[in-house]
Symmetry: D2
Subunit: 334 residues, 4 copies
């Protein structure tokens, strides 16, 4: 099957191309890049053995049955819309189709949504929750990296109504590639190196996305306090989530509940009591590792590690494609 990538030379695009090259069922047709049009992909990223030449985007020339769109928020929606209109299946990396409510989208992204008509049919591409819908979808909103780590961390607790939804704290730590490839002072090496800092404390765009999905799982309002932190590593997210148990459960009981929730999931691993994940363990993979502890006072701590460019972006996108196209869900991701 032919696939194309629009916006192939950002970090998520690069990771996606690398995975697609080793995928047994697909072949890359077109790679587009405005910044590097005319260059071979391997000139932009010598670590990836891909000789294909990056092209300027000419939408009508994109004809492959599946297209990945890795463009910035706001720029993506109309391009995605064009492809969908032409019967092409799309996996969109931007936030443009993640929020069901156009007003929430406007509040956080400050642009009027150009393709509101497609919002109802866009499927949030988290296979652990929406697998069946993904199989039938034309348009996948590939989840954000923070929301992926947080929703997978909290899903069994909320689904089983084990925690007080009014008091959920999420403290996330992310590598710098999450900020993209565009150089800024905040991502300049001497500023990031040997530094630890929080950012987006008064409001981060991934918060409404988490809230929307966690509320759907809980069937009620979930109040999340979310603070992301920038850590001097290139890749990896560790989300440490804190909540209050409604009843007195032991660590091993909660671990059993998680194991049951995720028993058929190929990419989610629940660790034994006393073990907690390191981001290093999941780098360059589509894996998600989760460790759990209950404190003496029945607070639950759930720690979740993913690779922000793997399960947090491009790995998950390929998992979604596999489901949409009837491939082995793990194809290209083992």
């Amino acid at each position: 099957m032919k696939v194309s990538v629009i916006g192939a030379t950002g970090y998520t695009g690069k990771e996606l191309v690398k995975i697609l090259l080793s995928h047994p069922e697909v072949e890359i047709e077109t790679l587009t890049s405005e910044s590097f049009a005319g260059k071979r992909f391997c000139e932009v990223y010598p670590s990836v053995k891909c000789n294909k030449i990056c092209e300027h985007l000419e939408l009508e020339r994109i004809k492959s049955p599946v297209v990945f769109v890795a463009l910035p928020h706001g720029k993506s929606a109309s391009i995605v819309g064009n492809l969908i209109d032409r019967g092409i299946k799309v996996i969109d990396f931007s936030a443009d189709f993640r929020l069901n409510d156009e007003k929430t989208y406007y509040k956080w992204y400050k642009v009027s949504h150009p393709r509101k008509d497609l919002l109802p049919e866009a499927v949030y591409g988290l296979p652990e929750i929406y697998r069946e819908k993904i199989k039938d979808a034309r348009l996948i909103a590939n989840p954000g990296c923070y929301p992926t780590s947080v929703i997978l961390a909290l899903y069994p607790l909320l689904q089983n109504k084990l925690i007080n939804p009014e008091r959920v704290i999420v403290d996330s730590k992310s590598g710098v590639s999450g900020a993209g490839r565009n150089p800024t002072l905040a991502t300049h090496f001497p500023e990031v190196n040997e530094n630890i800092s929080a950012y987006g404390v008064t409001g981060h765009r991934h918060l409404p996305e988490m809230e929307q999905e966690l509320c759907k799982i809980a069937h009620q309002k979930v109040d999340i306090t979310f603070v992301p932190h920038l850590i001097p590593v290139t890749r990896g997210i560790l989300s440490t989530c804190y909540a209050e148990l409604k009843e007195k459960l032991a660590t091993k009981d909660v671990i059993e509940i998680y194991k049951k929730s995720y028993e058929k999931e190929p990419f989610v691993e629940v660790l034994p009591a006393g073990s907690f994940p390191h981001t290093k363990e999941v780098l360059f993979s589509n894996r998600c590792r989760i460790g759990i502890n209950i404190t003496d006072y029945f607070k639950v701590v759930v720690i979740c590690a993913i690779d922000n460019l793997g399960k947090g972006a491009s790995g998950q996108a390929v998992q979604n494609m596999n489901l949409m196209c009837g491939f082995d869900e793990q194809a290209g991701l083992k």
Copy 2:
């Protein structure tokens, strides 16, 4: 005034020696080190211009009126006791005199305390809270690095009874020097680099220390969920603290309360609304910087940055010495 350092060649010892060398009121008499006895201090740490030869500890030869003891927990108490018995003032870096209750000490450190008799008179060396007691003390228990960052972050909230003490979450991130200079697999460069992980999730020794001090401030039980994380930087601690406001206050109101609490403190800085500290800003200093935010649902987030070897250890020790000896509190620390 002459001062000595017992256990001078660990990372806190090194930082202490560096500060003492530039202190206008003191002169170093004796430096002891079992691992590097016979070597000049500058051979062990070429970055520090100190030609003094490290000696094996012979307690009776230590005669300076003030001694800093930077030995491991358990090894410290009896040596500190000997010095106190001989009329020497001691600032102890270990945990041996931080916990008021010998049973709590035994529970966490698994050794019977050899000098219980001194526990009542040991003063917890956090000047922002115990300044007057420190001035009169003979024996200072220099606080742990995590507790320093957490107590300073939460003090105004608990003192003013603004938060629910049953739901305090502390998510701390620390540099690797906090683990000391003894090489282990957990601190081996290829294991730490490009990695983010939690540790001590099921119980860290700094938890009872925080609880003890925060309970004293609150005059009631405080339930803290504490998760420390190891970050690939050498120095710095960022503690992100989460609690629930009892009444509906705005960010600016809470900032005012903090500013009032700390208005006379030379080393504590309360940031304006929307600003949050980076560890980089406090490295190699005795400063503590605090940023505050109130969420839409009246959760309070307090972020506190210190240098674990500065305000979290050796800077604070010198601040304590300055108070005990009647020097300018900022001497050697500007």
Copy 3:
């Protein structure tokens, strides 16, 4: 084909296991580890999905036709000898069979070689030079990481007698994984981080190995000045080599000579004029990238990047196995 790894839990062992798991022609039979015997491999390295249990080494139980031995220098030779005696093909990661001359071995490693009898038949496992011999070999001495980068950098120059062999300078920079997994003060995170240093300046064990191989290529004495440096990265070697051209050649001429030398090599890439390799481009691969420049005064600068655990160790070992066993040379390494 079944293969075994003796000493599987060091960093080279880990990388080897990871490659072997994805190799289309082989299956892992036995993994041995003295430190982690009884544990599953994935418990030691959660990033590698391998459930096999690590065993204590019992030589007689090792029966696979090919065995990788990743033991420390000195410990390897007699075990390798036992396997060879029993008709098993061996790829040895240690230096024990790299030096042809037992006296040189004794001089640098301070042990008398226990299996001198095997030295004549051991083949130095650098396929770009010894491919045909490797195909017929029973015992491969897998090259050191520094020598691999340096020999590949200088081979075309010496083979074509283009440089003065009395004045070769090699300045290498290596990541910390090259020092192995055993924690030491020199590899303790706070010591390595934010630091650049040379080591082994007065003599590094990889020097005689380079000299031996470069002299064979040049058919004369080659005087190499070699200074390795420790860089705060986990993986990667960059060797910057300097020599004096015998005749006045331009950069493009020398690049052509390199391209011709390596035109059939699947893992060696010669960059165009003005381009120089970054270690990041070759990480997690068996690739070697080389950039060349000639100065105004006809000094030649050759810069070579490899992954010390890839082409510098485990990737190359698998390349050697592929040749010995008649597999596609790139199997498992694409």
Copy 4:
């Protein structure tokens, strides 16, 4: 004495302000910054306790008797000229007055020099070589960071005619702050982290500066092959220099020659045989540490460590000011 800094908010400006604040003889009058005009210095750099407001440059308002100019190459010369014309002493951080020959300047910087008239009187501000001239100078060209490390490494060898000047190799490794504070893809954290690379291989602007100064010392042509490398650390330069001895000297002999050359130098340290400097030892200081080794074939290896922002820029600038103004040479730098 009042001093001003033009271009105070780059990394060298920041380091300079930090040193000046602790200098016993000077007071900062004016700080200028085009990017941050109107902001307090401590808002730009919270780690520096300086409340002064950064101003737009209005040359006629600068009246302090000494001014540091930390502007980019090309922009500096005319401003420096204006100050000199008005009788103000200037220490210029740019390259504009480092090269004696305007043609060489044009060749490397591609601008016609606007104040050629001042070139003859500009003094190259390396106190170890030009101390007496610096004392009388009005205009100091503060040396580049690489040249400082290289000239100090090679000075005793060339001054004493011990090496063949036709074969000098310099392999330098630098931290990222040397590239300045302007964010670029090359200094973007995910690009630099876990990477080692050479740059400027075909020609770096610091080469003519080194050549000019080393030729003056040698009283003959010196051919230097210079390759700088970018290392993932914030600060520090390690220059490893290779040359060929003219006569057979032992390591200890050469060390003695170095010790004699530098015996009166407060900031240059010659290490004993077998010891080599780490950049970590000189960070945040004006120190320069040098280690030396002679190989079996009489090649000399000289390794020199400085802080690129200390002795490589702002520390040296203050050392120059101290000499120009008759202060203790070490004032503010101990």
